[in-house]
Amino acid sequence: MELTIKQKKKIRRAAIFTALLLFVLVWLLPVFGALLTSFRTMDDLMNNGFWRMPEKITFKNFGTAWSEGRLNRYLLNSFIITIPSLIGTLALSSMVGFALAKYKFKGNMALYLMFVAGMLIPFQILLIPVFKLSNELGIYNSYWGLIMIHLVFQMGFCSFFLRNYMITIPDELSEAARIDGASEFRIFYQIYLPLSKPALAALGTLEFTWIFNDYIWALVLLRDDKLKPVTAGLATLKGNFITSWSVLVAGAILATLPTIFVFIFLQKYFIKGLTMGSGK
């Protein structure tokens, strides 16, 4: 039997939809399990395992994680670390991007490639050298140490991204501004920076999640529990002999909330950013 084009299209659509639905289910299953776990008591969990519906829904775990688990402190630390890192990275890399995009000077390309290369180095191989360096500099076990490391590590990608965005802004704008009497910094600050807002928003979203969700640098560079961000802090909820899974999972859910909010509010920029520069 011959199928019409319309029928073929329908079948193909249905197949794709089923496949996607399956992926989504598999993807969301652990999240669903985590949600179930966070709403039940430890006893319920011990008796019935992970995948049963809770006997009784309770919000106590969140409270425990927040106060006794010190999530309040850890989340605050996360913000103390993430926000300056984010602002610092965007501020510095937008200047780098502007200079690389708009000025002709010897070594421009080499410098650009250096930032790209920096982006490509796997950070794992730098764990020990950076740990030693932070000891030498006396910034080990401090907010500033971690902030500076984040700032430096994210600059490669951010500079690369912003340079490629700013290079698409016509040179005539800076020339017009120069004739209008603007200094070079003003051209950057009043013309190119506002025009790069979409790129900055997309980058800000991405970077917020990356820095906020960092675990390994916090683990390596911070010793004091009082300073740890939420990712590393959650790990301290795991006891040596017994782990209160419901509290831990409730804490993990609390820890993801900020990134979820950032995504919801900035997602349109985020999606724009992913396709940025791919077409006019």
Partner: protein, 371 residues
């Protein structure tokens, strides 16, 4: 007050010479047009005056001051760009006020100037809009407005009309001319369009490969071109060029188109120019399409054997008010611009007269004009 003087100005990009030792004096309040094909160095020249390109050699003076090392903002110039270069994130008012704010003008003064400029240009209702909400013509006006509010000594315009559609371009052309009359400021205007150059310029500079070919007012440029390039560049349709030779027969001199035509050189020209030196030498014969006439129509000169030739009509282009005839005579191609009454049809062999008062000949080697 604001003469602009270029002395031996040269610009090199690496080994490439974009502008080759130009000397040019732009007089105060003059509308000077730099014209030439793309890559002739006209924009580079303008950008050097603006201070956007460094000068490799020579000096540029604005007023009496050498400005080689003066940054653009201190040169007292304003520039209008081809793509307008409006700040996309600012509204029209802020676009126009930006330069004044940076110069720390008092608020009332800024407001007065922006409003005045907006009135002149008819963009008063658009002041709150962003550039992307404007049409091409409106953006063009804002770009002009941004230059006007500064009240500079010199306006620099880099192909400001080339992004507009044909109709709007003609309209803006006259508006720009009017604006110049009104503001009485020196304007240096770059274009590749010879019509713009002819209609707007007080004087025109024709450039080719970075070298100035000729500086003259529009009519002189049209009637007395200095070389083949200028003759061919100015005027549309372009001047006809035919390879020929000067021959002497007794006391008379002829332009001999290698057997296809033979035209007598008027006596006054022989006396006045060095025609005798070119006897038996190769020359380029040049005549504008409107100086080639249909012999069947009466003109203010007689068509004789010595100022006419026969050619086949290949294409007829009726323009309404006139007709363009594309002619072929052996391997020579020509265009004649004849009156609308002409009855010439494709395939006809018709007699064409040449207005001897308007002919030119050029040295075939140097391409310089003989007369």
């Amino acid at each position: 007050m604001a003469n602009v003087t270029l002395k031996n100005v040269t610009k090199k990009f690496g080994d490439f010479v974009a502008v080759d030792s130009q000397n040019l004096e732009i007089i105060d309040k003059e509308f000077l047009v730099l014209v030439g094909p793309s890559g002739c160095g006209k924009s580079t020249t303008l950008r050097m005056v603006a201070g956007l390109e460094e000068i490799t050699e020579g000096t540029i003076e604005i007023g009496d001051k050498v400005v080689n090392d003066v940054p653009p903002k201190d040169r007292d110039i304003a520039m209008v760009f081809q793509n307008y270069a409006l700040y996309p994130h600012m509204n029209v008012y802020d676009n126009m006020a930006f330069g004044l704010k940076l110069r720390k003008f008092p608020k009332e003064e800024i407001e007065r100037r922006v409003n005045d400029a907006a009135d002149i240009l008819g963009i008063q209702p658009l002041l709150d809009r962003k550039p992307k909400q404007l049409s091409g013509g409106q953006r063009q006006r804002v770009a002009l407005g941004r230059a006007i509010v500064r009240e500079p000594k010199v306006f620099l315009m880099d192909e400001p009309l080339s992004n507009l559609d044909a109709k709007l371009r003609v309209q803006m052309r006259t508006e720009l001319s009017k604006l110049h009359d009104r503001l009485q400021t020196t304007v240096i205007y770059v274009t590749h369009d010879q019509t713009e150059a002819m209609t707007m310029g007080d004087r025109i500079v024709v450039l080719r490969d970075g070298v100035i070919q000729q500086v003259a007012d529009p009519l002189s440029l049209y009637n007395e071109p200095k070389n083949v390039f200028v003759a061919g560049f100015i005027g549309s349709p372009a001047m006809n060029f035919l390879d020929a030779k000067i021959v002497q027969e007794g006391d008379e001199y002829y332009i001999d188109g290698h057997g296809t035509f033979k035209i007598k050189i008027p006596e006054d020209k022989i006396e006045k120019y060095s025609v005798k030196d070119y006897v038996d030498k190769e020359v380029i014969f040049g005549v504008r399409p409107e100086d080639v006439v249909d012999a069947n129509i009466t003109h203010d000169f007689d068509v004789t054997d010595y100022n006419s030739f026969v050619a086949e009509v290949e294409v007829v282009e009726p323009m309404g008010s006139e007709i363009y005839l594309y002619l072929a005579e052996k391997d020579h191609q020509m265009i004649a611009r004849v009156e609308a009454e002409s009855k010439a049809q494709v395939g006809d062999n018709i007699t064409l007269g040449i207005d001897l008062r308007k002919i030119h000949i050029f040295d075939a080697e140097t391409e310089e004009v003989i007369f």
